[in-house]
């Protein structure tokens, strides 16, 4: 069964319903044949099922954080690469038929109340041409377009859904081949149906794992992908803003916070490994709404990347910070060089101690550090 969680709340109660898909195993794919069909060299992936399951379980574990809604249902479809030790034989496989069926159930639940929140998450292979195509587990290079999901058409279909708050997360590559660009028959199967006369009000941002034409990354087996990792960090507090004394995560802030998180991570990566998220507004006719409110005593942390201006001084500097709000004693990096650390959101003195004939120690007073984080460059020019 794909239904991982059912809160069994009555339809009149506003609920969050999630459809979470993670496709790692593509049994019908053959990298060599993919190339013959002018497709990118597609292969099995480790991170999508892990990413999907991690997100699903995060939502279940943190359902008390939901602001103004209950956790309704989670449909989870995850296809892992078989390793002979599968301990979850009943897990629903993310084939096209299973996804279509889960989508229909999800749509119906979301449609039951305009105050519902609909969350659509896909992690797996993706291709981009004039439409974004998502590849289910039974995607085959023999007739590729009959088994690919047309995400743009699916997004349009959801405009017929009554749920005024919708969020779409596509954790997939958006690359193409030159030859694929020139294949006139590239298309996909839409999920759901779209009635041109039944477009409802909705705020429906989209978050793509990567900018168009670029790859997304799943870094290691057994771990969520980089985007999903950033997404979970953001809903856990990195996308939070303090309003009326409480830290809250809003729909509006989530996409740009994930972008910032990945951007911060890119600083320590080679150019080829960098990932640039692509948050898109989509339609926004139903106003914004809070998504999560952090527990009363929660104080989110922000990531800080210490460096020097000029950059070449960084290797010679020992960085430190001292909390003003909240007050905290001076804390030094263990060694010289660039320093990546996490601080409670607040106001800090940030400095660099340096002994070098060309540079001088520097101090930035009253630096504001807020989620998701920021680089701090201390000026040390003599």
């Amino acid at each position: 069964m794909a239904l991982l969680f059912n809160g069994k709340h009555p339809p009149e109660c506003p609920q969050l319903h999630a459809l979470i898909i993670g496709v790692g195993h593509y049994p019908k794919l053959d990298a060599a044949k993919s190339a013959e069909r002018q497709l990118p060299p597609l292969d099995d992936l480790h991170s999508p099922p892990v990413s999907a399951e991690t997100l699903a379980h995060w939502l279940i574990d943190h359902q008390a954080w939901l602001d103004g809604v209950k956790l309704g249902t989670i449909e989870l479809l995850a296809s892992r690469i078989p390793d002979g030790t599968d301990r979850k034989p009943n897990r629903a496989t993310a084939t096209l038929a299973a996804i279509v069926s889960a989508y229909d159930r999800w749509f119906k639940r979301c449609n039951a109340n305009p105050n519902n929140i609909a969350v659509f998450y896909f992690c797996g292979h993706g291709l981009q041409k004039d439409n974004m195509l998502l590849l289910p587990a039974d995607f085959s290079e023999k007739s590729p377009w009959a088994t690919a999901i047309d995400f743009d058409a699916t997004y349009r279909s959801m405009s017929n859904c009554a749920a005024k708050s919708q969020y779409f997360i596509i954790d997939a590559c958006r690359q193409w081949t030159q030859l694929m660009l020139q294949d006139l028959h590239t298309s996909g199967v839409p999920l759901g149906r779209h009635d041109i006369k039944q477009q409802k009000l909705r705020t429906a941002p989209r978050l793509f794992a990567t900018a168009l034409g670029l790859p997304a990354f799943g870094d290691a087996a057994g771990k969520p992908s980089r985007l999903t990792d950033a997404l979970i960090a953001c809903i856990e507090g990195k996308a939070a803003e303090k309003m009326n004394g409480r830290w809250r995560v809003t729909f509006q802030r989530l996409g740009s916070a994930v972008y910032d998180m990945l951007d911060l991570g890119n600083r320590s990566l080679s150019e080829e490994q960098q990932q640039i998220a692509d948050p898109q507004i989509g339609e926004s006719s139903a106003g914004g709404r809070p998504l999560l409110v952090l527990p009363e005593n929660a104080h989110p942390k922000a990531r800080v990347e210490f460096g020097c201006d000029p950059t070449e001084a960084t290797a010679h500097a020992q960085f430190y910070h001292q909390g003003i709000h909240p007050p905290a004693p001076e804390c030094h990096a263990d060694c010289r060089g660039a320093w990546s650390t996490e601080l409670l959101a607040g106001m800090y003195h940030c400095g660099a101690k340096i002994q070098h004939p060309r540079f001088a120690s520097g101090l930035l007073e009253g630096e504001l550090i807020w989620p998701p984080g920021r680089p701090v460059n201390v000026s040390v020019a003599k």
Binding site: H194, L212, S256, S284, S285, M347
Partner: protein, 463 residues
């Protein structure tokens, strides 16, 4: 006296440009968020008590700049906030606010020399005249032939008249791309591209960032493109509140405002904006008909028939200037084509036409960008442009396109012979396809055919 207003000052951001600012107290409570025009005071909902505050300004590029305020009992009623010239990303100020477009796209902060070269770049400015034909426009701004690769290059067009315009850019042997631009004065930033390709055919490629002259349009487009929903809404409402009666002279503000109103489904205001500021642009700016079509589709009740006609009209006018418009045109035509009540031959024809552009479009930039040999001829193998791809591959590696050349060289058994063969093929090709290639597709094709004949002669000589 407690301050009741703040005024943002900046050396880098033009006076009157709208930005969205957050005012946080020392404990990071969001005290206020709103749109601010540079150098103009904005009244706060309540006076500022003594203490530390931070003003965080989110640039439409996604970067932020922060200023710390220390409000004392000596403060006057208006508090001046001087924005630093450096973003919180710590990037070089010149990259944060390039001299032309002040809100610089984030990507310009990280020029990627390894992905492309500007040294071999050519650029061509196209305009569409009254008889609907595209022609290359004389452009006094010549591209400097620099060899330094890590330079982001800025260009400015002259004041372009009302009508359709675009810039076509190519680099090395990569496929040329066309980017739509608005009339008026436009700043163009050329930068080496980071463009992924599973084919591993990475060629020196160049992306073009387009910045309309008006700061308000830049900001609104930036927020909309960057997915910053709340800030787009705040900035948009302020920009539209200031729309003057002469906005028709600057379609950039009006059209970006119209997209804003469509996104936020403010349909009554949208209808008024189209009537007042965009009606005159309708005959040459396809975006107007696209926006109007979606207004008709989203109103209660929807007017599908009128919307269909507007979509067909838009497709006939040309490619929308904004990528958002191209997306909406394609989606709208697809929706109508799937509905038996409204689908007909005209819809199918329009969809086929738009799809040809959509299939070779880059959906990332805010302005419509697609691979094309000329603005109305998208590059597509299946519609008779295969010779161009072959020509480009030949330019990269003649021996690969003409395998017999390698075979001949290999038979000779010397690397020198292979290189000689390569130069035999490259030289005539370079003569035929110098930079930039011919603007006339038919002439270019003829040239390539002549080149092939030359190649055949080389083959016979080699044999």
């Amino acid at each position: 006296m407690k301050p009741t207003a703040i005024r943002l000052r900046s050396e880098s951001i033009p006076r009157g440009a709208p930005v969205v600012a957050d005012l946080l107290d020392a404990e990071l409570n969001l005290k206020w968020r709103g749109a601010v025009f540079i150098d103009e005071p904005v009244v706060l909902p309540e006076p500022l008590a003594e203490g530390h505050y931070a003003v965080v300004v989110a640039l439409s590029s996604g970067r932020t700049v922060t200023s710390i305020l220390n409000v004392t009992d000596q403060a006057g009623p208006e508090f001046d906030v001087v924005l630093p010239s450096k973003s919180t990303a710590g990037s070089d100020p010149a990259h944060t606010y390039p001299s032309g477009p002040f809100f610089a796209a984030a990507s310009t902060a990280d020029p990627s020399p390894s992905y492309g070269s500007l040294a071999t770049t050519w650029a061509r400015l196209w305009s569409r005249d009254a008889d609907q034909k595209w022609h290359v426009r004389k452009w006094p701004t010549a591209l400097p032939r620099e060899t330094k690769q890590d330079v982001v290059r800025e260009l400015e067009t002259d004041h372009l008249p009302l009508g359709q315009h675009c810039i076509q850019v190519g680099s090395g042997s990569s496929q040329p791309r066309v980017t739509a631009i608005l009339p008026g004065k436009v700043c163009l930033v050329l930068r080496p591209a980071r463009r992924g390709d599973y084919d591993d055919r990475a060629e020196p490629a160049v992306d073009v960032d387009v910045y309309p002259e008006t700061p308000a349009a830049q900001v609104l487009l930036g927020y909309l493109s960057h997915g910053d929903l709340e800030r787009a809404q705040l900035a948009g409402s302020e920009v539209l509140a200031r729309l003057g009666v002469d906005t028709a002279r600057d379609p950039a503000v009006a059209i970006s405002g119209a997209y804003y109103l469509l996104v936020f489904r403010k349909l009554v205001e949208l209808e008024g904006l189209i009537e007042r500021h965009l009606a005159e642009c309708d005959r040459w700016l396809p975006d107007v008909a696209v926006i109007d079509a979606w207004r008709l589709l989203r109103q209660e009740p929807p007017s599908v028939e009128k919307a269909r006609d507007r979509l067909i009209a838009a497709a006939a006018t040309g490619v929308p200037v904004f990528t958002r418009g191209l997306r909406l045109l394609l989606d709208g035509l697809r929706m109508v084509a799937l509905d038996k009540t409204w689908a007909d031959g005209a819809v199918a024809h329009a969809l086929e036409r738009v799809r040809r552009f959509g299939q070779v479009a880059d959906w990332s930039p805010p302005f419509s960008t697609y691979f094309a040999v000329q603005p109305d001829t998208p590059i597509n193998l299946r519609v008779g442009m295969d010779w161009l791809t072959e020509a480009q591959q030949a330019a990269r590696d003649p021996c690969n396109i003409f395998p017999w050349a390698s075979a001949v060289a290999d038979r000779r058994g010397e690397q020198a012979s292979r290189n000689e063969m390569r130069s035999h093929l490259s030289a005539p090709f370079s003569r035929a396809f110098g930079y930039p290639p011919s603007a006339d597709v038919d002439a270019a094709k003829k040239t390539y055919e002549e080149f092939r004949k030359t190649v055949e002669n080389v083959r016979e000589d080699a044999a």
